[in-house]
Symmetry: C2
């Protein structure tokens, strides 16, 4: 039933890198968004590239990187005008619109042919609109959201989901590797495609957490050892990182500090619901997840880890 | 984040086999329930043991085994009186009560110290009651439900979940290996414990199918290649047999023939709901799964594979 050879399918589209290595290495890179995931990615880049321009709304979060040699910019505009490549990883659609649009935004200030690499989890439609805006300014937008938690970023084991102009995908490939990519998965030319893939992936993660929470609860209410049961599953039919890692957090009830906060997870499920409504897809489980997560938010658990979903059962 | 060494934890409790090998080999084994999963298990046993007594409500299903040397019994009573060990794998709680209770049942006709190995997916309370009934007849009941589809049985890669008297667990271990066990997971002395573990496991499987169905639907409605997306997930955070196998069936829309039918899966989710109600566990996802599965049953899809759950979305 389980064919391990399936795991060794080809992962990355093979294509020629159109930019010579030395030229790619000379590109000035800017980084916006030093959150839980952004910070270790910026550290990876600084380690490989030696030079990195950074901007963060809360400047204090940049101190650690500046001590290591990064250059702090005072505004998005300053950073965008200095760099060839701007990487952004911010919390939601409003935040990315805010830093990208307008006369002080990335699109208006990035040089011609510059590239904005957008790693945030946002709606496909937002990426499509921002790609058009960049095109109007003769520069470029590439979508590159991430599968992976902060620990994976530190271990350089991130999976990047990429879509947008294919020649530019070649250009940014070495940058993504320097940022901590273990794999790069391409979803074609449509700027929104990688966002769709990312939203669908997070949906499966939150669903699995809900299912595990309920399973662990039934196991415990029925008097069996829930840890023993999950150990069995994560060595057999559910032997996957999502079940091993989130299962472990659920069993330990390790809700703080959050690696992936409940409020950000709810934001993603809300985006899934919005995308479902936009495309007339039927997602009844999504409604249930929203209800359960909102219960947790109401109880003041927004900054807890997403696995605190289990607490909505009690 | 993903520690593969975790997968190599010790799987099977080490203990001495109290029955010498030659004696164990001489035990007469009877088998009741030649369904999709029962048949390949019975074939495995016949291959290793050379001798096997079989009974099935529909006798025609036994023809193939009889041609290979199995002995057909005309009734449960006849089979139980001839055998040291009776293995049963039937469709539900009513069926196992029917073959076990009463003057023609397994408990009343199995010899003193004989063992009934119950592989069906049933309520813990049913196992507890049947274990008591066997005790009254001076014979034994051991719970041993299975994780694995018919293909896994043929490949001798079944995971058995076992609970009941621990000395008897030792006795039946070689029999489970002959039946196709790749691993035996013990849940202690409580006859109902392995049933709880099995119900919780099936709950996670059906939940994952529901989540994947919705994810694939959103991917397709949004215009991305759902197969490419699932390929990525099953090579990364969801690299587990449950996601690989059921994901593949969902993508192919291969709803017939059923390896695990929708009506049997609904029976399991109904048992989960009953157990949840019995133990005051809160399982909101269970209600949703019941609704979606009942929609499929109403459309006449009861004999389709459980992955036909996807059709309840359209």
């Amino acid at each position: 039933m389980y064919d391990p050879s399936f795991l060794y399918l080809k992962k990355v589209r093979v294509r020629k890198n159109v930019i010579p290595h030395h030229k790619n290495q000379c590109m000035k890179i800017g980084f916006i968004g030093l959150g839980n995931l952004g910070t270790p990615i910026a550290e990876n880049l600084l380690e490989k590239r030696k030079e990195l321009y950074v901007y963060n709304r809360t400047a204090a979060k940049a101190q650690h990187l500046i001590a290591k040699g990064a250059t702090l910019c005072q505004s998005v505009k300053e950073l965008a005008s200095l760099c060839d490549i701007v990487i952004s990883i911010v919390s939601d659609d409003a935040a990315i619109n805010n830093i990208t649009q307008g006369e002080n935004g990335i699109a208006a200030n990035l040089k011609a042919e510059g590239i904005h690499i957008s790693m945030s989890t946002i709606l496909p439609a937002t990426s499509i609109a921002l790609a058009q805006l960049h095109q109007q300014h003769n520069n470029n937008y590439i979508t590159a959201p991430i599968l992976g938690r902060p620990e994976a970023a530190k271990a350089r084991k991130l999976n990047f989901l990429v879509s947008g102009n294919e020649e530019l995908q070649d250009v940014i490939e070495p940058i993504l590797h320097d940022a901590g990519a273990v794999n790069i998965w391409t979803y074609g030319e449509d700027a929104g495609a990688a966002n769709t893939a990312k939203l669908c992936s997070n949906y499966l993660i939150v669903s699995a957490i809900q299912a595990m929470s309920e399973g662990i609860s039934l196991a415990r209410h029925s008097g069996i050892d829930a840890e023993q049961w999950m150990n069995m599953l994560t060595q057999t039919i559910f032997a996957a990182p999502a079940y091993i890692n989130y299962g472990n957090l659920l069993l330990k009830e390790a809700y703080q500090p959050a690696a992936f906060s409940l409020k950000l997870a709810l934001k993603d499920v809300n985006l899934v619901a919005e995308q479902a409504s936009e495309t007339q897809a039927n997602m009844p489980l999504g409604k249930l997840l929203q209800q359960q997560m909102n219960k947790c938010i109401e109880k003041g658990m927004g900054d807890y880890d997403v696995t605190a979903l289990a607490l909505a059962l009690s």
